[in-house]
């Protein structure tokens, strides 16, 4: 089936089990939120899918097996991700950032020439993530929210089909969150989106489905309402304002 399929995924660091047997199915077009307390293994799960952490089990995306492939080969299969701390190239302009993200398939001759015009997909992405006005500004000078958008824009031009976003709205203002949420909705028309997030309010408004992780395992899965009603989740989140 298309979409992301994870079966019995295990990641072990020096004897410490970070992810212990996770099964996860995200059909294409879904906007899946993954939540869980710190240390639940959320980021490690994404690390394993994208090839950063060594794992056992099986991960397929659109029928391609991902485990065992190198990071850049997985990226070429249409798997894109962002990081908790924004990792745009601060010494390059917004345009340059996007142009690089759009270009892994370029041949040597194109690479060795100067960019003569803005590629159409980059232009589109600039408009989608609303960064046209700051196109020639160094990415390092952007405010935090715009950096996160730039990251999403880079995934767009990268032609990623699966978006793995690690806390994309942390540190954003309310307006920025809303805008980001809407952007996620637009994206889901053509992409599969997986978001790691702590912000419950944001989750309730924009998630289509939710997976709750705890101690390296999947605790609960379903719609927002289903998950909120799950007693196991309430137990884990005791003292956390789930109901609020």
């Amino acid at each position: 089936m298309s979409g992301l399929v994870v079966r019995d995924l295990q990641v072990v660091f020096d004897g410490f089990v970070a992810v212990g047997g996770v099964d996860l199915t995200v059909p294409s077009g879904d906007v899946r939120f993954i939540i869980g307390p710190n240390g639940a293994g959320k980021t490690t799960l994404i690390d394993a899918i994208t090839g950063l952490a060594r794992a056992t089990g099986a991960v397929t995306f659109d029928e391609h097996e991902l485990l065992g492939r190198k990071v850049h080969k997985i990226a070429r299969l249409g798997v894109g991700r962002t990081f908790q701390n924004s990792t745009v190239f601060e010494e390059l302009t917004v345009l340059q950032n996007l142009d690089i993200a759009a270009g892994w398939h370029r041949g040597p001759l194109t690479l060795l020439r100067r960019r003569s015009s803005v590629p159409p997909e980059v232009q589109n992405a600039l408009e989608t993530v609303r960064l046209t006005a700051v196109r020639d500004q160094l990415a390092g000078t952007l405010p935090h929210g715009q950096k996160q958008w730039l990251e999403i824009g880079m995934l767009l031009v990268q032609n990623a089909k699966l978006f793995l976003l690690d806390e994309p709205v942390a540190g954003m203002s309310h307006e920025e969150r809303d805008a980001t949420g809407e952007l996620l909705g637009e994206l889901s028309r053509e992409h599969t989106v997986v978001v790691i997030e702590h912000d419950m309010d944001f989750l309730r408004r924009f998630a289509r489905s939710v997976t709750v992780m705890h101690a390296g395992k999947v605790l609960s899965e379903g719609t927002v309402a289903q998950v909120q009603a799950d007693p196991k989740v309430q137990e884990v989140y005791l003292g956390h304002p789930v109901e609020a």
């Binding site: 660091f13 020096d14 970070a18 980021t43 490690t44 690390d47 952490a53 990081f83 990792t87």
Partner: protein, 295 residues
Amino acid sequence: MTLVLSQLFTGISIGAVLLLIALGLSLTFGQMNVINMAHGELIMAGAYTVYMLQKVIGGAGFSLLVALPVAFVVAGLMGVLIEVLLIRRLYARPLDTLLVTWGVSLLLQQAARDLFGAPNVQTRAPSALTGSIHLTDDLAISSSRVFILALALIAVAAVTVVLKTTPLGRRIRAVMQNRDLAAVSGLATGRVDRLTFFIGSGLAGIAGVALTLIGPIGPTMGTNIIVNAFLVVVVGGIGQLKGTVIVAFVLGIVQSMVEYTTTVSVASVIVFVVIVAFLQWRPQGLFTLRTRSLA
């Protein structure tokens, strides 16, 4: 058989020298990720300490014993001075630290030349450390090498104890594993850095004292040994004392065996090839701390 044994011991003793030199580095480079190219000049400072003390105290054996703590403090303080004045500004730029400390090493070398003169100076070794100990009739090991081996092992043990059991050691490891987190949890990372640097540099001073027994004491004595010492730490793996210890001895034995059967120049090339091959197998060194950071 005797030959193999005596060559094995030679290898172990070369390893002990390497270990003593690399031990300080495994703290400053391994724990703090600071490449201190002036480490060799701190070793030099330790060696000149012996020279000065012999002028003041006399008595070869006694002055050598006194030199151990004095050299530790002298080199340690010099290290702290370098840390405070320069390295502190460069924690985010490790490669720049390399260049800056190379500059420091040039300054210290020239300063030594101006203070003590360009020629090597001589120190006297206590007579107990100039001969050899006969294990059998034809198997003898040099007593200065035994002394250095013992010194190296004691130093390793002491550093291990400090790192594993004392509050300071816990702080050092905390800062190394996550500087930001340690700072947030209220650790004065600046003070921990300075203390780590003091100990690492002080160990260089002790290595300098030991080197007076087997090598020349002069302004350039540090440069000759520093490249190999860095290799030991790199191959041993960052942040891991046991890696440094094992690699120092293995490298010493490989070097002495290859050198015995071929020539020094071939041996140095072979050692380099072995290291590159080894890094193909374990690019992060023999032992690594797995962390979940992006870098």
